[in-house]
Subunit: 139 residues, 2 copies
């Protein structure tokens, strides 16, 4: 897609073929992929891509503000193209990470702690999804 090239340019990122390929997956996904998941997804269409480039690119995107990186599960980082404030639900059973809109949860007092310069906060919720609803269309 052409928009991605523009997006990279406006963020002062040279749109190499590799970066565009990574961007077209990781800046669009609704999931919260690990570096390895990005690697697998993108090598499907760009088989020569190397793991080192995936890491380079993800870190560059984080530095340029196109992605957030965080650790919710032990052992791996995940990347999130949804960079505006929001909360997260982590499914204990599957490990899936789901966005919770910012204004669905009211938080008071988190940015007014003595001795602390708060840069950012979020609620992290753990649990499991309810039993899947019987065959009917969602939303």
């Amino acid at each position: 897609m052409k928009q991605v090239v523009e997006l990279l340019r406006t963020h002062a990122i040279q749109p190499s073929a590799q970066r565009v390929a990574v961007a077209n997956y990781v800046l669009v996904t609704k999931e919260h992929p690990t570096a390895e998941q990005v690697f697998h997804a993108v090598t499907a269409t760009f088989p020569t891509l190397s793991r080192a480039t995936v890491y380079n690119t993800l870190h560059l995107f984080v530095k340029k503000g196109l992605l957030k990186q965080f650790a919710l599960t032990e052992g791996v980082s995940v990347f999130d193209p949804h960079v505006e404030p929001h909360h997260h639900f982590v499914d204990d059973e599957t490990g899936a990470i789901v966005d919770i809109p910012w204004d669905r949860i009211r938080v008071e007092g988190a940015d007014d702690l003595p001795g602390i310069d708060v840069r950012d906060f979020q609620v992290v919720i753990r649990g499991k999804r309810h039993r899947r609803r019987t065959t009917n269309k969602a939303t």
Copy 2:
């Protein structure tokens, strides 16, 4: 300390010398040590302790409810003897993790999300500490 032996017994944990040594550090600390930090702290007084035993013991304590384990920083898990609900502040500059009492922050709506069985949640705050306030001493 003798209390630790009792505590382990009441949690159905055989109080071996190694487990007692680990417990006397990790169940008492106000910090949020990594397994490696536990290993270093405890080998100071119990030099023959092995890394494998540290991991075994930490995981056992987690399973028995004496510790919580979580990932706030990429790359490592930390262990927390403060098992009641509370929030965490992570200092961006030092990586230090600080407890925030549960009732210092009001959170509404986190346990009432459609399709989700919430087991547990917490607010994770990131930022930096204010410049050190040296109340009396000049530096």
